[in-house]
């Protein structure tokens, strides 16, 4: 089977970006929107065809899914062995990502046709969405780690541009800058990791790198630094890139601010696709982590677990609905990271790997759905704050129902897809470490609580007085909601373990009720608490906040991490490094140059007296010099 055509999955959005970027302002806005959406529809179809062909026709040889390099072109030859290629690699996870990304992206495109209607820069918006789709798809089909890095940077810049889409708004400008610089700092780690890894393995190529019998895993080791092997260090540094992009602690600070972007962007980039790039990165390099750098894999697990708990706690006290969803995203990605971190390799041992990918797909559906619903709500009430909402279920029936489905999914209530994927993660954690398992149980309860806190305050509770009656969004916006709701509800029945596994060998899973039942009960408990506190306007939340004043304050202020960063950047880097450097340059380095000039000038000013033009002075100097010389000679002669 020839998968050459997959190149078009990258080419179409790229061409669309060039077209809309250069000529978009000459087209009618509606036309550019349709062109962008149409282009995406084409690649969605191509992705589904690819998935069908790969999973059910040709991908498996003797029942094992292999990695197929569909296309590979040498983009830049660096050394004899190292070269950056641009290509398409098909394997279970990349094909899965193609499907997930194109599906969500298409839904977001359709939704944006309605949501962004009449906005200034409509064609610009679609141009950048195409750029983002191109970059994200290029990232997941990367055949080598440098291609991934290239597209990694490109999704970063697309994210930067789209967060700052409303570029006249200072908060959006700040948020976009922050997002780019924080992730760029993390990417520095990624780059250094790549340098170290490629220096030791002499290759960028994923197929060679991740081959358990290949040179990367078998031949390295040896040199150690601070007790960990070089390869472990490089994998931790590579993971640093993933931590930045996936908004894990401590690089999570950009994600909540990124909500300044238009809501469809938050749905696509900051919930469903780009932020899971870090998870995908670890999954892509999983064999190296597992065989050559188990310590790095522990780091992955603990950072994931900590982030998921940390974000869930913060999400309980935020009032901006998009920020609650942002922290929820961080928390769920923590789940995926944890699942990878606790996973083994091969067959049923690779349950965590499978669960992580499973959760990634279901999360993409339900989180995109939540954001798009949030967009519809914000569209209706013109506010981001849940304190301005209440009783909306009567005005927004479709949004209400789809939002409820999404909440049930994220809370892990059967038979929603979130139940299945979360259950697999908990099982994997259960078999690895009791501690991590306990943390994730707590997070499951918190998740159900803060999601239903959101749900009840928006759709139930006391009705706020609205300036004009909220009304349901147009069909271009509700249809994507319904499709995504269907996806969230039923995606759980996809037999993931037969398709996507750590080594390509399918295996069977069944629900471990001993783990599943308590987790559902915890979820229900969370919902019940939220119901008691928020279904009617009661005084309970305020009283609790008053009672646990410090805990509440710390959580509400996001544990002051932003302030710490601000102190480091503003206080230390700006004031104690950059300004002294600039001063040093002007006054010391340049001052030296200037004083050399001044000294020269001074000396020449003095010396010029010798050239006075007065004959008697010359004669005096001449005669006295001659006398001096004679005296000297006589003196030396007598020695």
């Amino acid at each position: 089977m020839n998968f050459n055509y997959t190149l078009w999955i990258l080419a179409v959005p790229f061409l669309m970006f060039i077209l809309l970027g250069l000529a978009g302002h000459k087209l009618k806005p509606g036309l550019s929107g349709l062109l962008g959406t149409g282009g995406l529809a084409v690649i969605t179809v191509l992705s589904y065809i690819t998935a069908y062909l790969y999973f059910f026709r040709t991908g498996a040889t003797e029942g094992v899914y292999t990695k197929i390099s569909a296309f590979n072109y040498t983009w830049l030859q660096l050394t004899d062995k190292l070269h950056i290629d641009i290509g398409v690699l098909l394997d279970p996870i990349s094909v899965m990502m193609l499907v997930v990304i194109t599906t969500v992206s298409l839904m977001v495109h359709i939704y944006s046709l309605g949501y962004m209607k009449g906005e200034r820069g409509f064609e610009r918006f679609f141009a950048f969405l195409s750029l983002f789709s191109f970059s994200m798809l290029g990232l997941v089909v990367a055949t080598n780690i440098f291609q991934m890095y290239i597209f990694w940077e490109l999704v970063g810049i697309s994210s930067y541009i789209l967060i700052g889409f409303y570029y006249e708004k200072p908060s959006a400008v700040r948020a976009s800058k922050k997002a780019f610089i924080v992730t760029r700092f993390a990417d520095l780690g990624f780059l250094i990791g790549i340098l170290i890894l490629s220096f030791n393995t002499r290759t960028f190529d994923f197929i060679t790198l991740t081959d358990p019998a290949g040179p990367a895993i078998t031949q390295t080791g040896g040199a150690a630094f601070l007790g960990l092997s070089v390869i472990t260090w490089s994998m931790i540094l590579v993971y640093m890139g993933g931590v930045g992009k996936s908004a894990m602690f401590p690089f999570h600070i950009w994600l909540p601010d990124a909500m300044e972007g238009p809501t469809p962007v938050s749905a696509l980039i900051h919930a469903a696709t780009m932020v899971v790039a870090g998870v995908y990165l670890v999954a892509r390099m999983f064999p190296i982590y597992f065989f050559a750098a188990p310590a790095a894999l522990e780091v992955v697990a603990y950072i994931g677990a900590f982030s998921s708990l940390f974000a869930a706690v913060i999400a309980c006290t935020q009032t901006d609905i998009k920020r609650v969803l942002a922290y929820s995203t961080m928390s769920q990605i923590g789940y995926m990271m944890l699942a990878l971190g606790v996973s083994g390799y091969g067959g049923h041992d690779g349950l965590g790997f499978m669960a992580s990918m499973f959760h990634l797909s279901t999360h993409a559906m339900f989180k995109a759905l939540l954001f798009l619903c949030a967009g519809a709500i914000i569209h209706a009430v013109h506010s981001n704050f849940m304190t301005d909402m209440g009783g909306l279920r009567r005005y927004l029936p479709v949004t209400h129902l789809t939002f409820l489905i999404a909440c049930l999914t994220i809370a892990g209530i059967p038979p929603m897809s979130g139940f299945f994927s979360k259950d697999e993660i908990l099982v994997a954690a259960f078999h690895h470490s009791w501690f991590l398992f306990g943390v994730e149980y707590a997070v499951a309860g918190l998740t159900a609580f803060y999601m239903f806190r959101l749900y009840f305050s928006i759709f139930w509770g006391n009705e706020t007085h609205y300036h004009h009656t909220p009304h349901e969004a147009p069909a271009t916006m509700t249809i994507p909601l319904i499709i995504l709701a269907a996806g969230s509800a039923f995606a759980g029945f996809i037999p993931f373990s037969r398709l996507i596994t750590s080594d390509g060998v399918p295996f069977e899973t069944e629900i471990e009720w001993a783990v599943a039942i308590p987790s559902v009960l915890i979820g229900l408990a969370g919902i019940a608490v939220a119901f008691l506190m928020y279904s009617r306007r009661s005084g309970i939340p305020d009283r609790l906040a008053a009672k646990f004043k410090y805990a509440y304050k710390w959580s509400y202020n996001k544990f002051y991490i932003d302030e710490i960063y601000l102190f480091i950047t503003r206080g230390i880097i700006f004031r104690y490094i950059s300004q002294p450097v600039a001063w040093f340059d002007r006054h010391i380095v340049d001052g030296t140059m200037n004083s050399i000039a001044a000294v020269t000038q001074y000396i020449s000013f003095r010396i010029r007296r010798f050239q006075s033009g007065q004959l008697q002075k010359y004669a005096f100097v001449f005669v006295s010099g001659a006398v001096l010389l004679i005296v000297l000679l006589v003196y030396l002669w007598n020695q």
């Binding site: 983009w75 450097v581 600039a582 140059m593």
Partner: protein
């Protein structure tokens, strides 16, 4: 007449034409036509070069011509080009072409302005085609003198001070260079025989080590001053900020490349043994340049100062990579020179255009320009993204080639310094995005801005020419990288001969 000599003849003819014409319109047309022709010629040169190479010619230098013009000292007018000089020539014609259009509206003594500008360009072209050290040096001096006049007469701010400072520092560097070149000359035939200035002939012999130890630092620092080597870079911020637009473009875009090119072609190529021994000193200095320039740029308020410091950082990377002395890093250094040349020229062109509208270069005094002049603002953003190394634009190609190349160095110390240098990608992002955020984004801060007209046609010509090549290199780097790569062979053979690892 051979094609390389044409690169000097055309500017000279253009200057003659400029002397003859009368009004400003004719001046512009003659200048634009001459440099347009030059641009076409360099496209032809690239084509010819690639086809000759393709037909299997593996000579070190192509299009060689050798005429004796001073017999007793064996000074020749010797020209020749390899992939590197062809690339540098193409860069120069692009930047000069864009520079002519960026200074379309110079109204004070326009004729004299364009004459000096093209005279400067002549010197640069001559420098890149020469393979005779003396002729090369002569052309270099030819480029420095008009620079003094251009800044001193058409500049702004403390222009006399800046012009004087720049010229004196560069002249000081020339003094070192002249010593270095003479030193090379007198050691060019260690076994007796005819002394020579010809680079190719010298490269076939080995200059005695004692001489190398003395003359390598001289030549390297001499060229390094031009390439903004820390701590000899301070002419750059003042010079740039006082210089008129086109001069800043040419200066940062091309003249600073003379430093990198010379350091590579003369210092490293002719004295690789000493380079190997002494490189660690300069690698430390250039690593400092890279980081220091970037940190210095963060707090600057004048757009030109920001770019001057950014150039210190980027050009520091050029010298850093050259000193790593392996194929990949050197290749990256050359790409970085071209990439930096294009994008700084673009930056300075845009700064000039912004200044023409807002009459200030202080970023705090501007804001929200994206809304009123979107074309120029988008160009500025693109230049910024190229500068911070975004994939798809030329800066990325150069930087990754340098970093990967430098990291292949067998010595741990060099690899650690490479990691230090990579941190510049973050610092660069900080100052670039800071400028973009303050200058272009946010609400319009001054209501006069609403009356601004976006780019005029000649400004568009200037910006689009440069941007298209920044994007071309960024999207399809292979041809450039392989064109340079094959021309690195002679240097690499010399390096491998001393240290076969």
């Amino acid at each position: 007449m051979d094609i390389l000599t044409l690169f000097i003849v055309i500017p000279v003819l253009t200057i003659t034409g400029l002397v003859l014409v009368r009004d400003i319109r004719q001046v512009r047309i003659v200048a634009a036509a001459g440099m347009g022709l030059q641009l076409i010629l360099s496209a032809v040169l690239v084509y010819l070069y690639l086809s000759v190479r393709h037909s299997g010619n593996t000579d070190e230098m192509l299009f060689v011509r050798d005429l004796v013009w001073f017999k007793s000292l064996n000074i020749h007018y010797a020209v020749g080009a390899d992939g590197i000089s062809v690339a540098m020539i193409a860069l120069t014609s692009l930047v000069v072409f864009a520079g002519i259009f960026a200074s379309w509206e110079v109204d004070f003594l326009p004729k004299e302005f364009f004459i000096s500008l093209i005279l400067l360009a002549t010197g640069v072209f001559g420098f890149f085609i020469s393979i005779d050290l003396f002729t090369m040096f002569l052309f270099y001096e030819l480029a420095v003198i008009p620079m003094y006049l251009l800044i001193g007469i058409w500049g702004s701010g403390p222009k006399e001070y800046s012009a004087m400072k720049l010229t004196l520092m560069l002249m000081g560097a020339s003094a070192l260079l002249l010593l270095g070149i003479l030193g090379i000359y007198f050691n060019s035939a260690p076994d007796g025989g005819q002394l020579t200035f010809n680079i190719i002939e010298i490269s076939r012999t080995t200059i005695p080590m004692s001489a190398q130890y003395l003359f390598f630092p001289l030549t390297f620092i001499g060229f390094g001053v031009l390439g903004a080597l820390f701590p000899f870079h301070t002419w750059s911020p003042d010079g740039h900020s006082s210089a008129p637009t086109a001069v800043s473009m040419l200066h940062a875009g091309v003249l600073m490349k003379l430093g990198g090119y010379g350091a590579f072609r003369v210092a490293i190529f002719l004295m690789p043994e000493a380079a190997k021994e002494l490189s660690w000193i300069f690698i430390i200095l250039t690593s400092i340049s890279v980081i220091y320039g970037a940190f210095g740029a963060i707090v600057q308020k004048d757009l030109k100062y920001i770019n001057a410091y950014s150039s210190v950082s980027h050009c520091g990377l050029v010298l850093f990579a050259i000193l790593m002395m392996n194929r990949t890093a050197m290749n990256g250094a050359i790409i970085q020179m071209i990439s930096h040349g294009l994008m700084t020229a673009l930056f300075f062109a845009l700064i000039g255009m912004l200044y023409g509208r807002t009459h200030t270069r202080m970023i705090n005094e501007m804001g929200g320009l994206m809304k009123v002049i979107p074309f120029l603002s988008v160009c500025y953003v693109l230049a910024g993204l190229a500068s911070l190394g975004l994939p798809g634009l030329s800066g990325f190609v150069a930087e990754v080639t340098i970093f990967v190349g430098a990291f292949q160095h067998p010595d741990l110390f060099h690899r650690i310094l490479t990691i230090v240098a990579t941190t510049s990608i973050v610092i660069t992002a900080v100052y670039i995005l800071r400028v973009i955020a303050i200058l272009l984004l946010g609400p319009v801060t001054n209501e006069h801005y609403n009356h601004f007209a976006d780019a005029k046609w000649f400004e568009k010509v200037s910006a689009v020419t440069l941007i298209s090549f920044v994007a071309l290199i960024g999207l399809a780097p292979y041809w450039l990288s392989s064109m340079i790569g094959t021309s690195l062979q002679p240097v690499l053979e010399k390096i491998i001969a001393i240290n076969p690892f």
